[in-house]
Symmetry: none
Subunit: 210 residues, 4 copies
């Protein structure tokens, strides 16, 4: 006698349901392509419930952006912050590898969030908001790079943009269909690939004044 859908749930739980459904639908259909009907259906609730717990479509999208951006930042911060986990050396290259691995891990395990953040929202009224999220990540990367390579954070910014862009491109490749299967976790594979390409160059930049 207690139909799941109509059971009163704690507000935060309902909100999570709605956000999860929204991210799923937004990632598949895009901001304009997604309909509130579809989101409600995916969440298994009625449309007014979506409004009650997620607000307007724009607010809902913004909430998705915020949540996924924070999730990504947290994941990276945590991973980078964790000192050498005893798995190997703790030199600059290893730290770069771990940061990249954290990024790739976050992105490949939350593919929909990533899609919404970086592939669906780059247009229209949300371009600014997405840009802010993206810049936060780039900024963090620039700080890491400045610490490792020396030089100011400002000077490291273009390199950080390059690095983040490269990571995004590689992620796109991985999320595409045709890539070799591996036993290793994808994040490790991708991080090693990217490290191999960029580390020598970055290493050389250490000597130069940026």
């Amino acid at each position: 006698m207690t139909p799941t859908a109509r059971r009163r749930l704690a507000p935060e739980v309902r909100r999570r349901q709605v956000l999860d459904a929204a991210i799923a639908v937004f990632s598949e259909e895009g901001l304009h392509g997604a309909s509130m009907d579809a989101i409600a259906a995916r969440a298994g609730v009625s449309k007014p419930s979506v409004y009650a717990h997620g607000g307007t479509k724009d607010e809902l999208f913004a909430a998705c952006l915020a949540r996924e951006a924070e999730r990504l930042m947290t994941a990276m911060t945590t991973a980078v912050g964790s000192a050498g986990d005893g798995e190997g050396p703790d030199d600059a290259e290893a730290r770069l590898f771990r940061a990249l691995r954290a990024f790739f891990h976050a992105v490949t395990t939350h593919r929909q969030g990533w899609t919404v953040l970086y592939r669906q929202a780059s247009t229209g009224e949300f371009a600014g908001r997405v840009d802010a999220a993206r810049r936060a990540i780039v900024r963090r990367a620039a700080e890491l790079l400045a610490a490792e390579l020396g030089g100011s954070v400002e000077a490291a910014e273009p390199v950080a943009h390059t690095l983040v862009g490269a990571a995004e491109g590689l992620t796109d490749w991985w999320l595409g269909t045709e890539h070799p299967a591996t036993d290793e976790p994808p994040a490790d594979v991708l991080a090693r690939m990217l490290t191999a390409v960029v580390w020598p160059g970055l290493d050389r930049l250490r000597a130069l004044p940026m």
Copy 2:
């Protein structure tokens, strides 16, 4: 005081107007976000004119994709194909530099086209077509890389994605507000920056079997 509205124009001219406007609006709003009204307004013509010269929204989008894809491919092919222009050596690094410069030139001068091609959500019925255009460019990059570094084109694909992503990231930085002014053309600056970061790594990959 020349009313452009009711002015009769040659069909090709009008079609170009419409396509230009469409690319602009699509790049800003996305396929779903763009309205035919907006495109008509941007083109300075009436909505029926958009239909007369650009066809259905889907056809119009497809035409934009086709035109910009060809434009970018042509620009890159031409620039890369031009042999050493006497400005310096013609080793692998120099060829990479020129290819990157061509890419940056094409992308920075046709930003909107690139956005439509590479940054738009590839959802729904156009996923395939957009993807095909994207992949054509990355494929070209992969071919160049394979030629330079040895190894198969398939093996070069992730590196190509990485490279294109890195270039994109750097372009974003450049098109952002805060970057130092230079006398040099942006494409040269950006190409040198990216070359500095990735060339050492790529160079090292030459020795390894990819």
Copy 3:
């Protein structure tokens, strides 16, 4: 002072409202001439409500056809089937009279439905469906005639068409402005008139092989 607009109604009720309005508008304007706006306005609901309860314009038209066809067929079948109601003899002429009276009754009391069914242009994709509805009624008439006059149903078809056309013409005359007032129900008057004109001829056909 009871705003009917925002009032929540049972779906069947709303659907009936919408169908009624649709039949009215279709009968006045034709399939192409009727606009969903007009139907919504006539029904006193919003356009989305029309779509919610009546579906697409084509579906709505089909639903109108189906409903009116059934209504007319039922009315005629019932009236004809009712055996001699004690009002007089039950010979062939009397049965013809009763059938005609049933037809006139159905047609004069559901004029719009009849118009949609029988007078609308049967163009385009609905030609078949409209025609089917029309033919069902004429077919029924042909069956009755065949039973009364002998001969096959096929042979009776032209006579049935003639009869139905004659009845239509007489109905038009009655619904026009200038006709004498009577105490009798119109259906009786019209049926007697038509019987007087056609019965002698039909009676004579009984002897002949059709």
Copy 4:
């Protein structure tokens, strides 16, 4: 060097071209379903030419109605007026037969005009105009009937409506697909059929005061 389409033609000729095309298209697609583009294409002229020679769509439709109505009236008048053509007796039944034959001849040889007049135009703003045309025919029939059967024209009107309706119904049957092939001209077949059904009844009415 003189392309037919662009050759300057006498205005009446062009007008005829346009009217013919219009009737064809209207009869196939209906008033609302027909597009001026389609009419222009069918006529083999440009759209402005249609406007120049046929006027507005409504005017064009009205012109079609007028022309076909007149054609039908003329045909009937002529046929009825022609005294017994020596092919047989000239009693009242023969005169009825000839009038009906004239009607069926006009209708079956100008099927499109008939369709436009009686099957496409019965709705919307042209209902009145069509009604007028129809009434003219019915009036003529009533006059003939009054002359043959005795009684006033007014009294003959319902019978005239009946007769015209019957003729229309039979025409519909004939214009449908499935009817037996004959060597005789259709008009003769149909006229004989209808005469057989209605003449006995009409004959009997002669004795009664209508």
